[in-house]
Symmetry: C2
Subunit: 263 residues, 2 copies
DNA sequence: ACGCATTTGTTCGTATGTATT
DNA sequence: TAATACATACGAACAAATGCG
């Protein structure tokens, strides 16, 4: 009997059991999901957790290693293990891959792209509540009758528009979200979601295309109709792979590029 | 005295030492780089390596774990640990992110995108040797007088051109590369490089933009001049972060998209 | 079909090193 | 300096997957 905690049912298809450290990992994840351990805060020490769950410290360590590999937590020698946060400087703009062309790539040297595409000016173009369009509802796992928040904004570099974002969020999770709250918040959008609404983005999937600017986007981004734009459709997930944001971005890439690392 | 193998010098800037398992990792990497352990082959067992290097099995294990995390090797329970290979079915087209739009995304379920953008027809448009242009030489770390191989090709889906690739390789590493060798090889380009020239691609960096088709690319890809195209500039590295390929790709994204996972 | 040897995977325990406060 | 927390290293035992006789 390999499991001493919650033994998963032995139904066909799924594994009849899972290693102890994965069960511990699931328990730790649940603590974060429930909000008991909040982003930026330290979780209990390995020694502490080992006692709490009656397992060896090495097993807790392996569970935490797995969480760290998925960027759910961050280990800091001598200090502790911290729940990942989009508010902290280290992991701010973690999901933003747009980079100025002339940014000296300190890519592999561990140099967090200090320049990045951060520090761009924000301009909110709209914040409305409405019923979810069919495609948005499908992506977010909502019913067509459910409410969503739609948020549109521009990012500008040197007074030039570079990014237009069209963001859709489940209304039930973002109750008091308003234009004022967005505009008054300093720092990345995901920091706002996390600190004000308790929704922490864990991972995302993007679909990228080249498209021609239509009249709307051309106007917003100050380019000719038909000019090429990078279209980035992002679906973001919180804990337990629950989709909580659909973001459609249009990027001008004359002076910026989307950087990606393949391994 | 933490190091029992090669103790790195304690010069300023670099760490005065490195953990044992990292030293083991470096030794293992050197075996692969030298060609002593070839892609697809099994490396010695953990027990074997532990004896060879006079360290514990756990230390070898941690070294191999690190290599596996970087996709340099692949572990298979009960069988052994194998040098990663672009020839094998599992990791074929590892660097290809272009996906048909209607491919049912088995993304997280572990389902290797069987559909993928594999199975596309290839059409070689040229294979020449020449002196390296300045920008290519800079990217590959060559002198302007060095020879390079330039390779151009189309990828077609349903008889429609989808991808145009312009590939630059250091001439010194790819001596007998010819159009015939490329056309007769079945399987991915990186499989050819690996099996025929002993150059294994370990990782890559990509810069992605939206561009308008010029007359050349419009003709090649059968689209109007000015149509939007995804421009993907890829720099690929072999062991020790040595750049060995510059690839400029243009993708039609009407029916395909570039998929990316953020974590 | 069965058992056995091999290899990686999991779990435990202990000791020591390094970073932080 | 001391206490705390993560990081490294060792050793041991058993489990699970594989392949072979």
């Amino acid at each position: 009997m390999p499991s001493r905690l919650a033994a998963p049912p032995a139904h066909a298809g799924g594994p009849a059991f899972s290693p102890l450290y994965q069960q511990i990992k699931a328990l730790l994840t649940r603590e974060m999901q429930s909000g008991a351990w909040k982003p930026g805060q330290a979780i209990p020490s390995e020694h502490d957790l080992a006692q709490r769950y009656k397992v060896s410290q090495g097993t807790v360590r392996k569970a935490i290693d797995a969480l760290a590999a998925e960027n759910l937590v961050q280990r800091r020698q001598g200090k502790g293990t911290f729940v990942a946060s989009h508010v902290e400087a280290q992991s701010q703009y973690r999901f933003l891959r747009l980079t100025p062309d002339q940014a000296q790539a300190a890519a592999r040297t561990g140099g967090r792209s200090t320049t990045g595409a951060a520090g761009m000016a924000r301009q909110l173009m709209g914040c409305q509540r409405q019923r979810a369009p069919a495609d948005v509802a499908r992506a977010l796992g909502l019913k067509g009758s459910d409410a969503v928040v739609r948020l549109r904004r521009l990012l500008l570099a040197a007074a030039q528009p570079v990014v237009y974002d069209d963001i859709w969020l489940p209304g039930s999770l973002f109750k008091g979200l308003s234009a004022e709250r967005v505009e008054s918040y300093k720092g990345p959008m995901y920091g706002l979601f996390e600190s004000q609404f308790g929704v922490h983005m864990v991972r995302a999937e993007e679909k990228i295309r080249a498209v021609a600017a239509d009249t709307d986007s051309a106007g917003l981004l100050a380019i000719p109709v038909g000019a090429p734009l990078l279209s980035v459709e992002r679906l973001s997930f919180t804990y337990q792979d629950r989709p909580v944001e659909l973001r459609r971005g249009l990027y001008r890439t004359e002076n910026f590029h989307y950087r990606n690392a393949l391994a």
